[in-house]
């Protein structure tokens, strides 16, 4: 008997017979059904009893399909009938569950044709609950078990199962919502199809106009976004590289401080940087005042527009580039640099012809991240944009603004998608098919080589002033929370902190009376749940992409990266459209927030994983496999420990993004699940800058603690003991010159 099959049959049948099929009204996380009469009573009935007793007879075939694999359970795995039967049953089960979910809606038949065919129906659908979830999972894994038995991916059950799982999740939480919103591109606001509106919307002069080249008028938002994204991608990659080099290849003394500094912007809600930039460089900003006083430069609104957004985005995204690049810079094998130096290359030549090209995959990834982040960024353009409109804010205003034109939002989203996909393709072409394996199983014992003097000067020259600026901005953010109103009334006060995070002694013990506690608790727990999930899904995907060859791999990669290419505003709207009706009904819950974070941030885990993993020699995995470890053990014992930098990057990034994200969140929060960022935006709109800044400082503090904790938990990858930096060996040419 096949143990895997027995297990999935048990899971599926258990879910079908015992657990509530639908989500009860009291929510997904409520467990009242345990004592509420499950699995029989109407509210909490399992699939079987819903079918038998509560007017949902179409659920009965599910049970039949779940028992069906029993027919082949005795057959050996190698028997072709075994595989074929599981594939068939799994596919039928999935199709049936999805099919019934979409044909029968809250108010009967979903498609008018069906009503004509079968007549009106009294049948009603609700959102899927535990029972439906387990049954679907069982069908999915029966399906993948069948494929593994037929020899797919060398018969590897774990890998085939993982691919199946990721495909299913991405289909449900990326493709389905995207298709949903793309359909709205050809619909008018009432939901009827209006194809003739599509092209006029697509070629609108507001999107593609080039008036800014020839006259003083504004250019189209598409050009604006593109130009900004290229600037930001380049500047953040360069800065990230500079910081990574300082951290690993120099004897700069305050490295730790530098690391903290580069992390700060990433753990700051984006619009907070925007606010600080305004407080510094705005018309009544500190720097502007100072320039006026001492140099007679009249204060102006120059910061609002391209310079301001670019500036704030670079501050915000350089740290992401740094996190990606530090793993890559560390991974460049010292042996290769030493080899180059012994080939009489000067240290500059070594750096430019060996080290830098070896970092190429990392640089490309960092640029791609910065580019897409910039396109998708919503907070900074909102605060600093001025007259410089970009796609993401346009989409937002198309939906929430007076226009309320979903079709236009969808068209803008398509344009945005085209940009990010082009970036993706360009990166592929640029990297080519060279092998960048530098951590091989053949251990090398060299030490990281110092960077040459020229590079060092350049690196210090860019990184240090930037670091200084960051310090100033954070002083502003910290200081702003302790004064009445920064710039206007600089009297010291604790008022803002008491208003937000006050704890008072009440009648029945301590009362968390501060306004922020509710959203704060939600934010921390949602972030803590979604970070590990994101890391797992992201790194698993990276493993599959780098290490496995299978038909449709390209499509798989595209699918998993897609969510990153969609700006949060669009994700937010599409989730609302897709998930406020059955079969997946999760709007207004915490689940939708977690899911949106996991699938929005997963690509970062994938990218970080891919960059690190393509530096790991494949024979390490193969050695583990031939030593009898299965691929799950191999991932756990060999790959993950060598991927610590990538794990850390994925965990930190997803935790922080969950705490600081605003664009998708603003659509998905509800009274029960308010998030910190939307609360802060609310404060800003009210003019309570003090409270907003105070709350932000607390968030930043929490994130610093969390990152420290994560770093401690994940640990460093130990592959060589000597980590100290050696000075470059004098090469023949420099030796002679000296």
């Amino acid at each position: 008997m096949n143990r895997n099959l027995v297990w999935w049959m048990a899971v599926g049948l258990g879910g079908y017979l015992l657990l509530p099929w639908y989500v009860a009204d009291d929510g997904f996380w409520s467990f009242t059904w345990l004592i509420g009469g499950a699995p029989v009573t109407a509210d909490y009935a399992s699939g079987l009893f819903k079918g038998l007793l509560h007017g949902r007879p179409w659920l009965l075939p599910v049970g039949v399909l779940l028992i069906a694999p029993g027919l082949v359970i005795g057959r050996p795995k190698a028997d072709p009938v075994f595989g074929a039967a599981l594939i068939t049953i799994g596919a039928l089960g999935l199709i049936y569950i999805v099919g019934q979910g979409f044909t029968i809606g809250i108010s009967g038949w979903e498609f008018p044709g069906l009503e004509q065919l079968f007549g009106p129906t009294e049948l009603r659908q609700e959102g899927m609950g535990y029972g439906a979830l387990l049954a679907s999972a069982a069908f999915l894994f029966m399906f993948t078990l069948g494929f593994a038995a037929r020899g797919a991916i060398k018969g590897d059950v774990f890998v085939v199962g993982s691919i199946g799982l990721i495909v299913a999740l991405v289909a449900a939480f990326v493709f389905f919502p995207v298709i949903r919103i793309l359909i709205s591109a050809v619909q008018d606001n009432d939901g009827s199809y209006a194809f003739h509106l599509f092209f006029p919307k697509l070629f609108d002069g507001k999107i593609w106009g080039v008036a800014c080249v020839t006259s003083g008028l504004r250019c189209g938002v598409a050009w604006n976004s593109l130009f900004l994204a290229i600037l930001t991608g380049a500047s953040s990659t360069l800065l990230g590289l500079a910081f990574a080099l300082i951290a690993t290849r120099t004897d700069f003394r305050a490295k730790r401080l530098l690391r903290v500094l580069t992390l700060l912007p990433i753990i700051t809600p984006p619009f907070v940087i925007g606010l600080a930039v305004i407080l510094l460089f705005g018309r009544s900003g500190l720097v502007s005042q100072w320039l006026w006083e001492f140099f007679g430069v009249p204060p102006s609104r120059w910061i609002f527009g391209l310079p301001g957004i670019w500036f704030a985005q670079t501050l915000a995204f350089a740290p992401i580039a740094f996190l990606v690049l530090i793993g890559v810079v560390e991974g460049v094998s010292p042996a290769m640099e030493e080899a180059s130096q012994t080939l009489r290359a000067s240290s500059w030549r070594t750096f430019s012809t060996i080290s830098l090209p070896l970092m190429r995959p990392g640089l490309a990834n960092a640029f791609l991240l910065g580019f897409i982040e910039s396109l998708a960024d919503f907070g900074n353009p909102l605060v600093l944009g001025g007259n410089y409109d970009v796609l993401s804010t346009e989409i937002f205003f198309a939906i929430v603004g007076a226009q309320n034109d979903q079709g236009r939002a969808a068209v803008l989203a398509i344009v945005l998608l085209a940009f990010t996909l082009s970036a993706f393709v360009a990166q592929r072409l640029w990297l080519g098919r060279k092998s960048y394996v530098t951590v091989t199983g053949k251990a090398d014992s060299g030490m990281p080589v110092k960077i040459p003097a020229r590079v060092k000067a350049a690196v210090y020259g860019t990184a240090l002033p930037w670091a200084g600026l960051t310090v100033v901005i954070y002083i502003i953010i910290l200081f702003g929370g302790f004064v009445e109103l920064l710039g206007r009334n600089n009297t010291f006060t604790f008022r803002h902190y008491i208003d937000t995070f006050g704890i008072t002694q009440g009648e029945f013990g301590l009362v968390f009376s501060g306004l922020a506690w509710n959203s704060f608790r939600t934010t921390v727990s949602i972030a803590a749940i979604s970070a590990p999930l994101t890391a797992i899904v992201g790194l698993l995907t990276a493993y599959i992409l780098v290490r496995q060859r299978f038909v449709g791999r390209q499509a798989f990669e595209f699918g998993t990266m897609l969510s990153f290419a969609i700006p949060g505003t669009v994700i937010g709207v599409s989730y609302i459209l897709a998930f406020n009706v059955p079969p997946i009904e999760i709007t207004g819950t915490g689940v939708i927030l977690v899911i949106s974070f996991v699938f929005r941030n997963m690509p970062v885990g994938v990218r970080a994983g891919i960059a690190s993993m393509s530096q790991l020699d494949n024979s390490l995995d193969e050695a583990s496999l031939t030593l009898g470890a299965n691929s799950f053990t191999t991932v756990r014992k060999v790959i993950l420990p060598l991927l610590r930098p990538a794990i850390l990057a994925a965990l930190v990034f997803s935790f922080v993004r969950a705490m600081t994200a605003i664009s998708a969140v603003i659509f998905l929060v509800s009274a029960n699940y308010d998030m910190a960022t939307s609360f802060i935006i609310g404060r800003v709109e009210n003019g309570d800058f003090g409270q907003a800044i105070a709350y932000s400082s607390v968030l930043i503090l929490v994130m610093i603690l969390a990152i420290g904790l994560l770093q401690l938990l994940v640990g460093e990858r130990q592959i060589r003991r000597r980590t100290d930096v050696v000075a470059p060996v004098p090469t023949a040419s420099t030796g002679l010159a000296a």
Binding site: K154, D156, K442, E622, S624, T626, L642, R717
Partner: protein
């Protein structure tokens, strides 16, 4: 019969492996007897590694069957096969110390940690690295890393042990010693082993049998002696050891024998299935005798080059059948370049080969 109960035979039965349009291994059949070391030898890209990886289960055959012992493992993944492999790059896990590397296979197969450690220590002792357990792979020399890789594969006492060019990262002296160590260990433990190399000397030195591959197919299989003495075709004759390949003419077939005319001399050789007419002859350099006496029968030639190498002399001789490369162990009686010589052939080391 072997005393190692676990060692199992490996059998390939019409196995083909294609990567898209590239056929890396084409309809290959062979058997590796239990307890024997068989080498896959051939030029770069001929499919050796792919064959080896199919035994390991790291590649799956496109068609045909792979058997280990009595079991058909064609569809079995690497994890489920009782096969260990020593990689060209060693593939030591850089984040684990030596003892953890060696005990890895034991631990993941569910053996208690302390037992696994003890066995790993034993394995390390076998390869002469007792006491190195605490070090990281990066703290070992290349040769030591190589031996750790061997120990890691050995301790599992696999049915089959695979080596993919295990010596290519070592220097020549070390290579000789390590290959002797590997051979000795393999013979003592009577492990079924399959060994990939493109170094023909290494192949002859370590193997019970050698499989010579060319363009995804088997060119010839046999003992080292067979291959050297009786190569079937020009390719094998040339690839295994040095050979002078010259055109000759078979004048008469008589039972097993063929009368062969080469220039002005005639000799009798096994015909090996060839029929009368033009044929290819492979002559080992050490099977050519050079005489200075112009009156003996032979092919007249002229020494163009003579290189003294201490243990022997290498000559290049111009003759009517072409340039001949000759080695002669009698270094003290070297013939100087420019001399006229008469070329005769020795009894062994001269064979008719297929084109």
């Amino acid at each position: 019969m072997t005393s190692n109960a676990k060692a199992a035979a490996v059998r390939f039965d019409g196995v083909t492996k294609a990567f898209g349009a590239v056929v890396a291994v084409s309809d290959v059949s062979f058997t590796v007897e239990a307890g024997k070391l068989v080498t896959l030898l051939g030029p770069s890209g001929c499919g050796k590694t792919t064959t080896l990886r199919m035994i390991a289960g790291l590649e799956m055959a496109t068609s045909g069957r792979v058997l280990i012992g009595e079991e058909d493992v064609t569809a079995l993944p690497a994890t489920d096969r009782d096969v260990s492999m020593v990689f060209q790059s060693y593939a030591l896990f850089p984040h684990m110390n030596v003892i953890d590397n060696v005990s890895y296979g034991l631990v993941v197969s569910g053996i208690a940690k302390s037992t696994a450690r003890a066995q790993a220590e034993e394995g390390l002792a076998q390869v002469g690295l007792a006491g190195y357990g605490k070090r990281l792979p990066s703290e070992l020399s290349g040769g030591q890393q190589q031996r750790v890789a061997v120990a890691r594969a050995l301790v599992l006492e696999p049915q089959v042990l695979l080596f993919d060019e295990p010596l290519s990262n070592l220097d020549a002296k070390l290579r000789r010693r390590v290959r002797e160590d590997i051979r000795e260990l393999q013979q003592n433990l009577e492990m079924t082993s399959v060994y990939v190399t493109h170094d023909q000397e290494e192949a002859l030195a370590v193997s019970d049998r050698v499989i010579v591959m060319r363009n995804a197919e088997i060119a010839q299989e046999g003992t080292p002696h067979d291959l050297y003495e009786r190569p079937t075709d020009v390719f094998v004759a040339d690839f295994v050891g040095d050979a002078n390949l010259v055109k000759c003419e078979i004048t008469r077939i008589d039972g097993e024998d063929a009368t062969v005319r080469l220039g002005s001399i005639e000799c009798t050789l096994p015909h090996r299935g060839l029929s009368a007419g033009e044929a290819d002859l492979a002559i080992r350099p050490e099977s050519i005798r050079l005489g200075t006496d112009a009156s003996t029968a032979g092919i007249a030639g002229n020494v163009r080059k003579a290189v003294y190498l201490g243990s022997h002399v290498e000559y290049t001789v111009d003759t009517e059948v072409g340039d001949l490369f000759v080695t002669d162990p009698r270094a003290d009686r070297a013939i100087v370049a420019g001399s006229s010589v008469m070329v005769t052939l020795a009894e062994r080391g001269v064979v008719l080969v297929r084109p």
